[in-house]
């Protein structure tokens, strides 16, 4: 939410999209960010092929080893390779954040923002008030409450489905965890997007070409998705980029609290929790290093990219 203020005075002309890409390419930092994200995410997605170890492989002949040529990031107290587990953690974070962004940010947030901005009146009031309720829960307490109270319910449901149908292994695959976490993230993530899109629509609603479209009898759906949506793309792009940084952070917090992907599947949050207590810090400080850097790179790259995008799209600062 921190960035809403900065985005507030963003008025963007989308006809200049190719030039905007040129300007973005000129920003070296943005390119570095894109590359860093690509490399990290690719390694995460192909974690199984990239790493010679499995994430649960315990090698008792090499426990608590500091980084060396066999284990680039060292091993933990059961001899598991820290780098391998980090990559799998990145994969989990990637899946969860992308799912939450697609459903919460793009589908729910953009649609509600479009509706609220264009319809105005009661629709606008109801949508924005609901958003305000979501936003008035203290910080991410809502996400924690949701994740903590929903998980057992959904687990029950999954068990019931397993028992009463032929579908098997729902609980074992951990699909439930993915569902719970993305649901909690979605509840948290749509409000910011809806507000920004609404703001943009409010400015565009009275534009001549929208009136023209209305005059020739275009349907509301057509006006919303063919005329208004394309003109919000730049706001959406910036919000997605910064939102991905925020979502990544929230996902790590959730799994840090033990509400995310459950062990034995590795997640960055649980790894950081394990590495962060004073005993582990004293014995094996390297356990913090690689997962910490991976988490940091994901958050910082999205944020810097979002910043560069908003610069490149904002005619005021050109």
């Amino acid at each position: 939410m921190k960035f809403e203020f900065l985005l507030g005075n963003l008025k963007i002309n989308d006809r200049q999209l190719p030039r905007f890409i040129q300007r973005l390419v000129r920003k070296k930092l943005a390119i570095v960010c894109i590359l860093a994200l690509l490399v990290l995410y690719t390694c995460g997605i192909f974690a199984e092929c990239v790493s010679p170890y499995g994430y649960t492989d315990q090698d008792y002949s090499s426990i608590l080893q500091s980084p060396n040529s066999d284990h680039w990031a060292g091993t933990d107290r059961t001899g598991r390779d820290v780098l391998t587990r980090t990559l799998w953690g990145v994969q989990n974070t990637l899946i969860l954040t992308v799912v939450a962004m697609l459903t919460g940010g793009l589908v729910i947030g953009v649609t509600l923002g479009l509706l609220a901005g264009y319809m105005g009146g009661k629709t606008d009031g109801v949508i924005m008030r609901i958003g305000e309720i979501f936003a008035s829960f203290p910080d991410i307490l809502l996400v924690i409450i949701l994740a903590a109270t929903l998980r057992p319910r959904i687990l029950e449901l999954a068990r019931w489905v397993e028992d009463s149908t032929a579908i098997d292994g729902l609980v074992r695959t951990g699909i439930v965890d993915y569902f719970v976490v993305s649901f909690a993230l979605v509840a948290f993530g749509w409000v910011g997007m809806a507000r920004l899109v609404r703001g943009q629509i409010l400015a565009l609603r009275e534009a001549d070409y929208i009136q023209a479209a209305r005059a020739i009898g275009a349907s509301t759906k057509r006006i919303l998705f063919f005329h208004l949506l394309p003109n919000c793309i730049s706001v959406i792009v910036v919000t997605v980029s910064m939102g991905m940084g925020a979502l990544t952070g929230t996902e790590i917090v959730l799994s840090w609290l033990g509400l995310g992907i459950q062990p034995p599947r590795p997640s960055l949050g649980t790894m950081l929790l394990g590495a962060g207590n004073i005993g582990t810090l004293r014995d094996t400080p390297w356990e913090l290093l690689v997962p910490g850097i991976a988490a940091f790179i994901m958050v910082v790259a999205w944020n810097l990219l979002g910043d560069a995008l908003s610069d490149a799209l904002n005619p005021k600062t050109r």
């Binding site: 008030r129 008035s136 903590a148 810097l304």
Partner: protein, 309 residues
Amino acid sequence: MWIYIVRRLVWIPILLLFVSLVTFALGRFGPGDPVVVMLGNRYDESTAERLRDELGLNRSFVVQYGDYMWGFFKGDFGESLRFRGRPVRDLILPKMWVSAQLGFAALIISVGIGLPLGFFIATRQGSWIDPTSVALSLFIMSIPVMVIAPALLWVGCLKLSWFPCSGWGGFFDSRLVIPAIVMGVPGIAGMTRIMRASTLDVLGQDFIRTARAKGLSEWKVNSVHVFQNAMIPIVTILAFSCAGLIGGAFITETILGIPGIGRFAVDAIFDRDYPVIMAITLIGSIAFVIANLIADISYAFIDPRIRLN
């Protein structure tokens, strides 16, 4: 102006009603029976039933909710389920005080350094200082707390032994340093960015050119015209930061062993201690909503254009 304030005031109770209903419903219909948690391995059907009766947990939802809210407005937040017989108010007030002190220390760091820095950077537009510091501030803001807190602990306590490793000893205790840095430094970056953006916005406006044109000294232009107007949006941010003081920071508090409200809230969520969860969520929301209101009203007072709309 007054109509505006009244309209905002009317909306607040409705907002809080929804927040309390959602929290209460999530707590009651969510899984995990507090009675089971309380009894532990002494659980048997008849004791559980008696305890439920005693706590009023088998009354209807509406009655329980109404009863709770009535107590809440009289300043009675109920009794904790985890610490039997201890009123929630006595449990959470000292913890809030700890979190507020910590938050205040962090706020001093971020405002004291961030505001002047942001102003300075904005007046140096066009030199290398500006883009570098903007990128740097985002860089610092993006470090996850659960990475930086252990990292500082490792450096400051294990390697250099400058500070004790964890715990709390009040505002003037060396144990405050690490948590205040962990919470305050990202704040510096945030403050700097916001102050810079706000100052730039003011610098580009006509009345600044007029002030220069009528021959005011550069210092006078900066201090009176630019700085004062740039502070308008900052007021909002500061109001929110003050609301955040009560909320605590559960990650920092947990890692660094500080007995604050954030850590207590998370423990309460896991132990299904409904009265505590309710009280913390409600107080947090009230603080947040009121901060929001104060910010909006002060906006309207400072900037006449908002008032007239």
